[in-house]
Amino acid sequence: MSPNETRIDYDVIVGLVERGARVLDLGCGDGQLLARLIAEKGARGTGVEISQAGVQAAIARGLSVVQADLDEGLADYQDQSFDWVILNQTLQSLAKPTLVLEEMLRVGRRSIVGLPNFGYWCLRLRLLLRGRMPASRALPYRWYETPAMRLLTIADFRAYCRERGIRILQEIFLAGEAGHRLRFWPNWRAETAIFVLRGGRN
């Protein structure tokens, strides 16, 4: 996704966060979302990013970003010290997703998890008909270059939350180029899902 493209998922997340909130963006990349949250919502934001290029770009935006590997946990952050912890388009790249999810629920009052939905019908169909791993706007890589180690669907994530007693407060499903919101059959129709989770001990 090119950095200048308007990102619908960013619009949704910016819409969720209230003014002046304390925000931690995990896997913040070049800091585009964080910069919007600060500019548009007066958020007090900070980020964590694994790549040197991402950290360099985020600092160039004037953001505070720490270079770290999320799979090592969030020991530097105190319990419930953020209003929002964001993990957008990052869960699929983690070696230890459970550790990171537990940590974000510990650190934040609420969490946002944004996922590419592998249950999207186009992907299912391509896999079914062509027998090859499909690519899409939300999952644009080939198997040998993708950072996505974990391919999951909306139904998978819901089941995961249910099994672990994680409370989903809100779900937003996005489809198509325009990113319009869906209500019905999201696991078939959505390319991207955004979940709002309740923090603390669920």
């Binding site: 040197q52 360099q56 600092i59 004037g62 970003v65 270079q67 770290a68």
Partner: protein
């Protein structure tokens, strides 16, 4: 070779001197002793803005001096020690910021140290010079800034021992420091770091020419001990990968082994050269005092944790470490970051991928230039710091 003075150079500069802490206002040192007067050698680059809010203090490392940037004469072979980072359009942009660098107390490059004349005896201090600490170095810098009429620092930055001074500044003068950029450093000297310093000091003190530190009158300083100390030091500044790339097992001026003890390997030749070159410009006693100050450095001393030590810190931080630095490894920078986070200090951290080892802080120019200039620009925006006229 002659000076290269282009549009990114601060050009020809001059070291200035000021005498502070004149009796009865001597400096009270961590050791409890009092010292004064203290002459301080310093250089400045760029101009102060109208409200004196654009000053940046640069802190040098073990073997550095006040000459951070530019050239002392058109015939100089080398510019100041951080010339790659200090100048118009560089990381510390002297067209925007007023940069100050001073030689540390205990040094031998113009600031009072063991080789200076003790005004009470008319002879060099030698080992009668009191032991100084990183905090003492910072106290002297604080007084220099008072003399220069500077009450706030837009930033304070330095690598290695310079980074220790940066941390000490943020802790001791939280109201003066708006931002801090510690590079390739640690909040406490590690056991491994102390160990290498001990070897260096023993090399000096076991040189018969050291004479208990009173060698100044003999015009025959303990160069062998000092060179050996520097050789050990240089090993800690490199990495296995950088040594392999730079020297490998290659021989110097020879095709095959000589089966003797002449200087044979390129790495051997390099270490001898660095050791000998160092003795021409550095005082052996200063090496003892400054490494001792480094070894004493421990911000957690007397505190329960580093987080407690940082409790009053208000500066915004940019912490920089290098992946292959084993003298001050990234883990020690991450400790600093964690302790700052625990105090809700605004901190950024970047671990620059490099195989240069500790030396990377002087060699990885481009990545640091971008990080530092962007970070400073954000701090300057936040505090409405105007450019000089």
């Amino acid at each position: 070779m002659a000076a290269i003075i282009d549009e990114h150079s601060v050009g020809i500069v001059e070291t200035k001197y000021v005498t502070l802490f004149e009796p009865p206002n001597e400096l009270r040192l961590d050791s409890g002793e009092r010292l004064g007067p203290i002459t301080v050698a310093y250089e400045t680059y760029g101009k102060l803005n109208k409200d004196r809010s654009n000053a940046i203090l640069l802190c040098h490392a073990l073997s550095g001096d006040a000459h951070a940037a530019g050239w002392h004469s058109p015939h100089d072979a080398k510019p100041g020690w951080w010339d790659v980072m200090v100048g118009p359009g560089k990381g510390f942009d002297t067209s925007k910021y007023f940069c100050i660098c001073s030689n540390v107390i205990g040094g031998c490059m113009g600031t009072t140290g063991p080789s200076s004349i003790n005004p009470r005896t008319g002879r060099p201090y030698g080992l009668s010079f009191p032991v100084v600490t990183i905090a003492d170095m910072v106290r002297v810098q604080r007084e220099l800034l008072r003399y220069l009429g500077i009450e706030t620092l837009l930033s304070v930055s330095g690598g290695s021992m310079g980074g220790m001074q940066v941390l000490q500044w943020a802790v001791d003068y939280p109201d003066m420091v708006r931002s801090a950029i510690p590079i390739a450093t640690a909040a406490q000297q590690s056991a491994q770091g102390i160990a290498f310093d001990v070897v260096g000091r023993r090399a000096i003190m076991s040189d018969p020419k050291w004479r208990g530190g009173n060698y100044y009158a003999f015009n025959d300083p303990p160069v062998d001990g000092l060179a050996l100390a520097r050789m050990v030091g240089h090993i800690t500044y490199l990495s296995e990968a950088s040594m392999r790339r730079k020297f490998g097992r290659r021989l110097q001026d020879r095709e095959r082994y000589g089966y003797d003890f002449a200087t044979e390997f390129q790495v051997e030749s390099y270490l001898y050269y660095q050791g000998d070159k160092f003795t021409q410009r550095f005082d052996a006693n200063s090496y003892l005092y400054i490494t001792k100050a480094i070894d004493y450095f421990d911000l957690t001393n007397g505190k329960r944790s580093l987080a407690e030590a940082f409790r009053n810190v208000r500066a915004k931080f940019l912490v920089i470490a290098f992946s292959s630095d084993w003298l001050y490894p990234p883990a020690q920078s991450r400790e600093i970051v964690a302790a700052l986070k625990a105090n809700n200090v605004d901190v950024s951290y970047c671990e620059i991928e490099s195989d240069y080892g500790h030396d990377a802080f002087l060699l990885e120019v481009e990545e640091q230039r971008k990080l530092i200039s962007n970070f400073l620009a954000a701090v300057a925006r936040e505090f409405n710091v105007s450019e000089p006229e």
